[in-house]
Every structure is written in structure tokens, then in C-alpha cells.
């Protein structure tokens, strides 16, 4: 156990208080997916290798208490908000002489929705929900870009998270690739509708001529261990300890990205999956790690899932 870090004066809430808060969150938000046994099991991952076991448990529980889970109802609501924001953005640009109804029809007439990523990735699932929640005609959703109608001038991608910049931006990479394969795309207006985006990612994509419409903007306050972190605004003295703790155990499961992809340091997940920008101590399964929020990885290796003895 390390003795290098001084003991913070203000204690974190007690384990009992934290479990009580998590219990309430589980009941009301997490659709009761988490119960005491899950938490107890997850805490067994932490062996007191960095600090006293009891303090490590407190840190783990504090992080869990701050984990934001988006349940199905909330995701559906985000779909509606996203669409509403998209329409607002485009309507504002239209001719005020026309009625809103006419302008709306014009916008929809020349827009098409496309999945960001391969079929089977989360974007396709979200696109389905998006269409359903907003009752958008099916013909507005396309699976090919090489035979676009001439009247179409706007392509809209829909995804859940857009957090990275530069080379790590999967959205930019994917759209670039699409443009390479479909030159006509280069003359279209590109919009990315995403539930959650960082301010940096928005700026980066803007520089790539991709306009981002988002419901939730994350900035440096939402990165768990940044100086302005909202998670530790009251318990600032524990921030360094928590970072040390999360990094240590993160290294066990994801040595390349102990605090999440692209040093994400995020604390959120969706009912259907947890993004890899979130701290791996929540979702990793490597080295016998017990996750509390499972992540469904993309299988890029054509590995067959173990169906059973009889196929």
C-alpha cells in the first residue's frame, strides 16, 4: 500500500451512504439492473494494491455513484431532442416567407439519413430508434450513397457518442473513407447528429466540414480527473488518489488505455452498451476482471461465439 499521498481532510461519504445512493439510482434510473450482489462482486476486483482496501472501495463506490446510465426511455427522449434540434437548426436557415410546414417538407425532401459505421454497430440501432421516435418516413433512410437522387443535398449521420479528435476520431475517419468511395458525397452538406459530443470533437469535425448537432456537450468538467472535474468539485483532495487508483487497476485490464480510449476518463454508459472512453474499471473483462457495466465489443476478428456443443 502506498503511503506517498497525504490523507485528505474531508472524507468521502461512507460506504453505507454511497451504497444507499447507488441503490436509489439503480432503482430509479438503472431499471434495477444493479443490486447489492453486483456491487459486492465488483468490489472484489480491488485488492488494496494502491491504498487501504476500505478506501479503495470508497473511491470505487464514489465513482460508481457518479456513473451516468442512460436507460431506454432516456435514449428515446434523446432521439426526439436530437431531431428537434436538427429541424430547428435547418428551419432557421430557411426562407421566412414560407410557412414552417413548407420549409420542413423542403428540408426533409432533400435530406437522407445514413448509418455511421457498419450495419451491426450501434449507429444502426440508434438510427432505428431515431426513425421510430420521430416517425420519419422509411424512404429517408438509405443504405447506399452511390445512387443518390439529385435533389438530395444533405446527408445526416446519427450516432450516440462523438468524443475524439484528430486521428482518433472514428466519425471523421469513417466519413473521409465514405467520401473516397463515393465522390458525390464531397458536394453534399454533412451533418452528424449525436447524443453526446465533446466540445473539442465538435470543433474538430467542424474543421472537417462536418456540422455536429448534439444534445449533450461534454467539456473538461466532465473528465473525471481533470482539475475542473465536477465529480470531485466537493472532494477535490481525493482527485489525485482516485486517478492513481483508477489508473492502477485500469492498467491491469487495459494497459494501452487505462483511463479509457483516448484518455477519455468518462463515466457514462447506455443501456445497450458502454463506450470504451469510459473508465475500463467499469466495463473490462480481461484478466478475470468482473465488470459492473458490460461492454459489447466489436468482433473484428471473425471469431465465432461459443454457441454450444450442437450447431
Amino acid at each position: 500500500m502506498s503511503n506517498n499521498t497525504r490523507s485528505p481532510k474531508l472524507s468521502l461519504p461512507s460506504e453505507a451512504d454511497l451504497i444507499n445512493q447507488i441503490r436509489l439510482t439503480s432503482e430509479i434510473v438503472w431499471e434495477k439492473k444493479l443490486d447489492k450482489s453486483h456491487i459486492t462482486e465488483w468490489l472484489t476486483n480491488f485488492k488494496g494494491e494502491v491504498f487501504k482496501k476500505s478506501y479503495e472501495d470508497q473511491l470505487a463506490l464514489w465513482l460508481l455513484a457518479n456513473f451516468v446510465f442512460y436507460n431506454e426511455n432516456e435514449v428515446k427522449h434523446l432521439c426526439k431532442m436530437l431531431y428537434s434540434d436538427f429541424i430547428h437548426k435547418l428551419i432557421v436557415e430557411q426562407d421566412v416567407a414560407n410557412s414552417i410546414d413548407i420549409n420542413y417538407k423542403k428540408i426533409l425532401g432533400r435530406s437522407r439519413f445514413y448509418s455511421l459505421g457498419q450495419p451491426g454497430e450501434s449507429s444502426s440501432y440508434i438510427l432505428y430508434l431515431f426513425r421510430q421516435q420521430n416517425e420519419i418516413p422509411l424512404k429517408k433512410f438509405i443504405s447506399r450513397l452511390d445512387n443518390l437522387d439529385q435533389t438530395v443535398d444533405t446527408i445526416i449521420f446519427v450516432d450516440d457518442v462523438t468524443l475524439s479528435t484528430g486521428e482518433k476520431s472514428q466519425a471523421a475517419k469513417y466519413i473521409r473513407q465514405l467520401k473516397e468511395n463515393n465522390p458525390s458525397l464531397k458536394t453534399k452538406r454533412i451533418l452528424l447528429l449525436t447524443f453526446i459530443a465533446t466540445d473539442d470533437a465538435i470543433d474538430y469535425l467542424q474543421s472537417e466540414n462536418i456540422e455536429v448537432v448534439t444534445c449533450i456537450i461534454l467539456d473538461k468538467r466532465h473528465k473525471c480527473f481533470e482539475e475542473d472535474s465536477m465529480v470531485f468539485s466537493y472532494f477535490n483532495e481525493h482527485l489525485e488518489n482516485a486517478k492513481k487508483f483508477a489508473t492502477h487497476y485500469g492498467n491491469i485490464v487495459k494497459p494501452a488505455n487505462p483511463l479509457g480510449h483516448n484518455d477519455g476518463q468518462f463515466l457514462f454508459g447506455f443501456y445497450y452498451n458502454t463506450p470504451d472512453n469510459t473508465l475500463p474499471i467499469f466495463w473490462a473483462e480481461e484478466n478475470n476482471w468482473i465488470p459492473i457495466r458490460k461492454r459489447y465489443h466489436k468482433n473484428y476478428q471473425n471469431k465465432l461465439l461459443n454457441i454450444g456443443k450442437y450447431i
Partner: protein, 323 residues
């Protein structure tokens, strides 16, 4: 009839079309957040003929204590300023005695950051009904963070001590020909209050509106945890509305009002969530005067419930339904 709403984050360069105001109304507050919008206006040389600062005597002590963090910075304004001393607890008396002559076609701005909700509700209705104002620009600066005692989310309190559930002055609504009530609560962080509201109105049905998306991702959970009792109460329904966009709230309330299952119910709304949501409620009530607005009025508001400033929003609102 649909309207394109105007809601935006105000940047340092005053990205707002309106460059002149006849009146700019704001409340003296306990930190710089109270004056952010007026100072941005000043920096960008926006013409403001009259600044009216509502100085509530209930805050005198706190304001004096917090001089070092800008509570009295309004004194540095170069605009013509009138300080109006009044009580926070009696908006009706304050407005009836307010000695300013606002003409019907005046350009008005109101910064609601440090007005209490009961006060700015009555203020906007007064502007509509007495001054016959049609449109107002509303400014609101969100706090950077909220104060949670002991770090636990169930320990947030916007007020201390006794509360009394009251109708907000001039928003009594009309319950004639309605046999039962619907209570719509915009959830805030102060969990005690929703229970008191529920108890007081004893509605037939209750709809809880959680601010989501919220200012910060986990705020949506904090409001639910804090209001656990009403959230878990049998029969209560949970819906969402964006915390920062009053027009979302307005649209939601319209959709609720139009539902057949609520047609025979007297609609009561309690705006104890964020200020933008409250603004949406206010707008809805101004357009639908049969709606009642109720509020848990505390004997004493907490002096400090938030830290620092974050974004400033502005909204263009039409006080009349058909304008």
C-alpha cells in the same frame, strides 16, 4: 401555429440581434452571475435607456458579505440605473408600487438569474397585463456548479426551514368545471419540496418532469434520487424536458394538456426545476390562464446554492399567445 423559437448562448460579442433596450430589469444578486448579461451588453455598447435593479431587503446581509466576489458590481455600470428596494416575498405589492412608466411598445430585457421564480412569474405577467408588453428578451446565466452539503446529492437545499405552498400571484388558474387535479412537477434537486407539493394539492394524477438533457450529465440522476418518494409513488408518470430550453418545456406542457386523459383535470404546475424550465412554464401559463402555478415558498431562501458562472442564455419570448 408553429413558431421558430429563439434560444442561444450569449457570447462575448453579443450575438443577439437586438441592440437597444428601453428597460433592462434584473435583481441584485450574491455574485457576478447576477450581472453577467448587462456587463456583456455594456462591453458591446448596447444601448440601454434604463436599468432597473430590484434590490430585495431579504438579501441585504448576504450581498454585503459577498462584495469581494462581485455582489455589488452593479455599482460599476455606466447605464442610467434605478435601484428599487422591495421585498422578495411580496411581488404583487412591489410591482403595484413600482414607479416606472413602461410604454406598450418598449423593448424589454429581463435577467432572471437572481429573481426567485415566484417573483419573475408575477413580473412577466405584470409586463403583459399591466404594461401590455408583447415580447421580452430573457437572459439567464447558469451556475458552474451547485452546492451539495457533504457531497451527497440528497443534501441539496435551495431553502431552509418552513415552506408554505402558495399559488404564484396572478396565476390562480380556473378550476371551475374540473372535478380533479393534475399536478405537473418540474423536478429540482430539493427533494423535500415535491413531497410537500404532492401533499398539498393531493392531485388525482401526477406527472414528474425531469430536466434532461441537463446542464451536466449526472444532474438528471440527482433530481430523481432527491425526489425518490414521488418518483416511486404508485401511479406517478415520469417524462423529460431539456433543462436549458424553455420552449421544450412549453411544447411538453402543450402535449400534456392536449391529451384526452387529462382533459377534465385542473392543471397545476410546480416549477421547482431549473429557471429555463420555469420560464417555459411561465410562458405556457401566460398563454393558458386557466392553468394554476403553485410554488413552495420558503420562509428563507438559502443564500448560496451555487458556485460561479457558466453560460449565459438568451430567449425571445412572446407574452401573448398570438403575437
Amino acid at each position: 401555429m408553429e413558431i421558430i423559437y429563439k434560444s442561444n448562448v450569449l457570447n462575448e460579442n453579443w450575438n443577439n440581434d437586438i441592440e437597444k433596450f428601453d428597460y433592462f430589469l434584473l435583481a441584485v444578486g450574491t455574485d457576478l452571475r447576477a450581472y453577467k448579461s448587462i456587463f456583456v451588453a455594456e462591453q458591446n455598447k448596447i444601448e440601454v435607456d434604463n436599468v432597473v435593479l430590484f434590490n430585495f431587503h431579504e438579501r441585504t446581509e448576504s450581498i454585503k458579505k459577498r462584495q469581494s466576489i462581485g455582489s455589488e458590481n452593479y455599482k460599476n455600470l455606466s447605464y442610467k440605473t434605478k435601484i428599487y428596494n422591495c421585498s422578495l416575498k411580496n411581488p404583487s405589492a412591489a410591482l403595484k408600487e413600482l414607479d416606472i412608466d413602461i410604454k406598450k411598445d418598449s423593448q424589454i430585457a429581463v435577467d432572471i438569474s437572481f429573481f426567485t421564480k415566484p417573483f419573475f412569474f408575477t413580473l412577466l405577467n405584470w409586463l403583459k397585463t399591466v404594461c401590455e408588453i408583447e415580447n421580452v428578451t430573457i437572459f439567464y446565466t447558469e451556475p458552474k456548479n451547485y452546492v451539495f452539503n457533504k457531497g451527497l446529492y440528497s443534501e441539496y437545499h435551495s431553502s431552509v426551514g418552513p415552506v408554505s405552498i402558495e399559488e404564484i400571484a396572478s396565476f390562480s388558474g380556473n378550476d371551475a368545471n374540473k372535478n380533479d387535479s393534475l399536478l405537473i412537477i418540474m423536478l429540482g434537486f430539493d427533494g423535500d419540496l415535491s413531497a410537500e407539493l404532492d401533499e398539498s394539492v393531493a392531485p388525482k394524477k401526477t406527472i414528474l418532469v425531469n430536466g434532461f438533457p441537463s446542464y451536466s450529465p449526472n444532474f438528471k440522476d440527482i433530481s430523481l434520487i432527491s425526489n425518490e418518494k414521488v418518483v416511486n409513488k404508485g401511479g406517478n408518470k415520469l417524462v423529460f424536458s431539456r433543462s436549458t430550453n424553455p420552449f421544450d418545456t412549453y411544447n411538453l406542457l402543450t402535449s400534456i394538456k392536449d391529451k384526452t386523459e387529462y382533459k377534465d383535470l385542473f392543471i397545476n404546475i410546480a416549477p421547482i426545476g431549473t429557471k429555463p424550465m420555469a420560464l417555459g412554464v411561465c410562458l405556457f401559463a401566460l398563454h393558458n390562464p386557466e392553468i394554476r402555478i403553485i410554488y413552495p415558498v420558503p420562509e428563507k431562501f438559502e443564500d448560496v446554492t451555487s458556485h460561479d458562472s457558466w453560460c449565459t442564455w438568451y430567449y425571445e419570448i412572446s407574452l401573448n399567445l398570438n403575437s
